[in-house]
Symmetry: C2
Subunit: 578 residues, 2 copies
């Protein structure tokens, strides 16, 4: 099935998935401790029966039982040489079961091996594991891929990238949330939505862990951010231990009734996870089949995310700061530490900037005497583990930016894409592939634009190309390109004009550096601060700056307050520094 | 002659005055030491001959020889009881001399008595002396009044007010400048122009003291500000002492040739002062009669002045500060000093504010336990004598404002005129009479406007009435009326909107207070400063503030710099405080 066909299919109304496979197989005689994939292949009639029951109950998509058929898991069962055979065999078996009456999703989940720093696995290793499995699933004729029961956003992201690299099949990805509303690894459903849909998946969802009741508020949260349909595949309630055995007690009718609330909350792809049976799917269908589906959000939210936090960039929202400190340029001590492979200062800077009110952290490792790429990956990993803020990947090398985006477990900002040939041609597709936002830097191979008109022309060229390949306006932040007022007396005015043009005419967010403007002048902080407040009043979205500058931060907070931005009074009162 | 007739007459081209009277009378036999006015009346044939010679030479206006016929001077000659007789007699004699072939100007000059603090005379006393003389001149049929050879701007202002209070005759006022370009009392020609033309005189000029050559640069300066024609009436060169006698040596031809340069510099009303004879006037006419006259400046400059300094308020010029400190509200120590009649602190505040970069000083004496009017007059006098800055007269009492304007030797700013009945009806004509600029405060008897539309409506009502009685847009500065952002979250936005409306739609200058906005908030200076920089970017002209606030002043300077205002870079570099 093509993505286009799938999108049309899921846009027509509520789509019903199947119910549990694992708990059903156990009921139908699968012993505890065996490799489920192998057992199914050895007992094909069980799956045929099981999936037929779901189709009769109303399932339109069934999951091939390839859940843990990845290289790492199968190796644990001594089946490392049977990956192809198992995945292909199970997809084919499911295709045989459904007889064209339903779609078959190739099913994937976590490998059990953990990424650094919880374990030792590299992201790239995991991507390769998933690519192997996904490749076989696609080859065998899976109609789509369902990545589910994910508890790590980083692993989910690796799985999605892997699928995208081996096929063009539609992708549904669902994560499992504890009762506190976060995954085991700490990701909240909004962050999962922002990060995963930016990668181009077709359905975002929640499955397993809780019953349908606990999913309702999470679906509501996701609905505020989701531009794709939302999947809900709850367990039949919270498991309880009865006579030493895990039981799921929620009856089908109650389950079905919760289905209504899930649809009201925004879900439109419904199924069951552990403990659910054909009766649950039937009840779900009966309760919801005539309901109207809430359409996905049309306008994309501007949002960046780390693995555990989403930072939303509202059109008229709080003025934001990209912390600029993690950059060795002109910092002797930091350079020395990096040369010695120490990141203490980097981590201190990261934490200080977070505490001082930065919303995003810029990471730049451009210096002589180190391997910039290796250092960038190391810093991205360590900073991600130590602070909650999303990162801005700042390098003049395309390959370094791509490498960082590949491992970054959130949604990053690229700093930056200009009209310089190398960047323009390579980085726009990279931004698209990794779902990153990017800073549009309006300069070209000819250098800085000579005037505002030329600046606007460059902005349009980059914007047009980005839109052409499916990037949206909300993914782009234009750098106002601040010159030095000492060298060009119209520097600030031209930047203000660019900001107003981007905001009012193009609907694009903007960013500015805050130190260039005052270069060579005495008492520069006053010039920077005055620039900031006028720029905010013109619509500037964010600035790259050092958030430890009290004057700048206070003026920024005060300007938001004066412009009557939402809750700016509270932010000012809580945030102003004496 | 009505003002209207006179204005038409002088707008037709170059107008020729007469030459010297005093030096000519001496040549024709008047002894040294007599009262000239008395001698002329006793020897009428001398004046008839003298003025006929001038008319033959081309004079279109002759000055009746009433130069020192004021009560103070005549008293010195024991002729205090002959004021009426002398002034009326001399005007009638001149009228007889000219036989309708020229206009006769009643002539007035300084009394020799000095105003406080050089002497003990009160401004009001002087006004009464001049009113007496001017009244007789007008009654006797003078076609206009020529106030000349003035060295004190305060005395000139008193003379002009006096003439205006007794008749509607056209007024020409000319001052005498030393070679350093200032009058004996320190007034420069731009300041004289600004202050005197604001009082509604018809011609502004220079006479006596120097020859025509030295007047050229001064005329050029005046031309930049003068909305009325300019008069030049030079001596026949600098006087030299020959055989113990003062002689004026410039020959008529040279004098006439300088006339060309005076016309090129902007003068259009030409005559001669000490040492000039009918030949000089003839030469002047011959050299200039076919020249084109430069028209007066159409658009009025926004300018305030003290007695010795003009402060111009340019449309896109430097952001300006009205120093707010001289106001006892909330200042215990100042209140105590004022109660004890001491002005030490007031004068310290005035000097400090001047040194800290204020452009105008607000004077408010509103407090209990003192005579506000008496204190206002005292402070206006003392501050005027101690600092160069123009004053802003700030009182809620109409009579106090008028009393201050009556004695103030410059062009003041009234703080303020609202739509409150008492202020609206009485203060607009007072502003017009005394040539003051005023702050238009958009509130009414119903209190503060409820929204921006109501604010605009009030602005229009006050503006329309002001324009109706001959005040110009350039005389008005609108108070943006800053509310407290803590009480009205749109306070700043509404003020910004008012500023933009005044600047872009109405072409009016604006002013704001800078402390209201942040009332009740912590670290208020940041809110005030952010407000300031955005307001300046919207076009705010000036703020009432305490110029000792480094943050505010630095941000103001920086904002001007960023907006690329003329010479703002130099002002920033010289003015920013660490
Ligand atoms: Zn489950
Ligand atoms: Zn604007
Ligand atoms: Zn003279």
């Amino acid at each position: 099935m093509t993505k286009q066909e799938f999108r049309e299919f899921i846009s027509r109304g509520i789509v019903y998935l199947d119910g549990a496979t694992g708990t059903r197989l156990e009921k139908k005689g699968m012993p505890v401790g065996v490799c489920p994939e192998k057992w199914v292949l050895d007992n094909p009639e069980v799956l045929l029966e099981l999936q037929n029951e779901y189709i009769e109950a109303g399932s339109q998509i069934v999951y091939a039982p390839t859940f843990t058929a990845n290289g790492i898991k199968l190796n644990e069962y001594g089946l490392g040489d049977k990956i192809k055979e198992i995945n292909q065999g199970l997809v084919k078996l499911s295709k045989q079961a459904v007889q064209g009456k339903a779609y078959v999703a190739g099913n994937m989940t976590m490998t059990g091996a953990q990424l650094y720093p919880m374990g030792n696995m590299e992201v790239e290793t995991l991507i390769q594991v998933y690519k192997e499995q996904a490749g076989y699933l696609a080859q065998a004729g899976a109609d789509l891929i369902a990545i589910e029961t994910m508890m790590s956003l980083a692993e989910t992201r690796a799985a999605v990238l892997a699928v995208k690299e081996v096929c063009d099949l539609p992708i549904m990805a669902s994560m499992s949330y504890n009762e506190d509303g976060r995954t085991l690894y700490g990701t909240d459903p909004i962050t999962a939505t922002v990060v995963l849909q930016s990668l181009g998946i077709d359905v975002i969802g929640i499955n397993c862990s809780t019953g349908p009741d606990k999913m309702i508020p999470l679906i509501k949260q996701m609905k505020e951010y989701a531009n794709v349909p939302i999947l809900a595949k709850p367990n039949a309630g919270i498991p309880v231990l009865v006579d030493g055995k895990t039981k799921f007690m929620m009856e089908s009718e109650e389950f079905g009734n919760y289905g209504k609330q899930l649809v009201e909350a925004g879900a439109s792809i419904l199924g069951g996870c552990c403990g659910t049976e054909p009766g649950h799917i039937e009840a779900l269908k009966k309760a919801t089949e005539n309901m109207e589906v809430l359409p996905p959000l049309k306008k994309k939210k501007r949002a960046l995310a780390s693995e555990r936090k989403t930072v939303t960039i509202e059109e008229n929202g709080p003025f934001m700061i990209v912390g600029e400190r993690i950059n060795p340029t002109g910092k002797k001590k930091l350079q020395e530490e990096l040369k010695n492979g120490r990141l203490d200062l980097v981590l201190t800077m990261a934490e200080e900037q977070e505490n001082n009110g930065a919303h995003i952290l810029d990471i730049n490792m451009g210096m002589n005497g180190i391997d910039e790429k290796e250092m960038m990956l190391k810093v991205v990993r360590e900073v991600s583990n130590n602070v909650q803020l999303p990162l801005c990947i700042d390098s003049s090398h395309v390959n370094i930016i791509e490498a960082a985006l590949r491992i970054y477990p959130g949604r990053a900002l690229i700093n930056s894409i200009s009209l310089e040939k190398e960047k323009f041609e390579k980085l726009i597709p990279i931004a698209k592939k990794y779902g990153a936002m990017f800073i549009l830097l309006p300069l070209s191979d000819d250098g800085l634009p000579e005037n505002v008109e030329e600046k606007k022309m460059i902005i349009h060229k980059i914007l047009d190309r980005a839109i052409e390949i499916g990037i949206e306006k909300e993914d782009i932040i234009v750098d106002g390109l601040v010159a030095t007022v000492g060298a060009n007396s119209r520097a600030a005015i031209e930047c203000f004009e660019t900001i107003e043009y981007c905001k009012n005419t193009l609907g694009l967010a903007t960013i500015c550096g805050l130190s260039n403007i005052s270069f060579g002048l005495p008492e520069r902080s006053y010039v920077n601060s005055a620039f900031l407040s006028v720029a905010i009043s013109k619509g500037l979205t964010m600035a790259i700056a050092n958030p430890s500058q009290d004057l700048l931060m206070n003026i920024g907070l005060a300007t938001d307050l004066l412009l009557n931005k939402e809750e700016a009074d509270i932010r000012y009162i809580n945030g102003v520094r004496a």
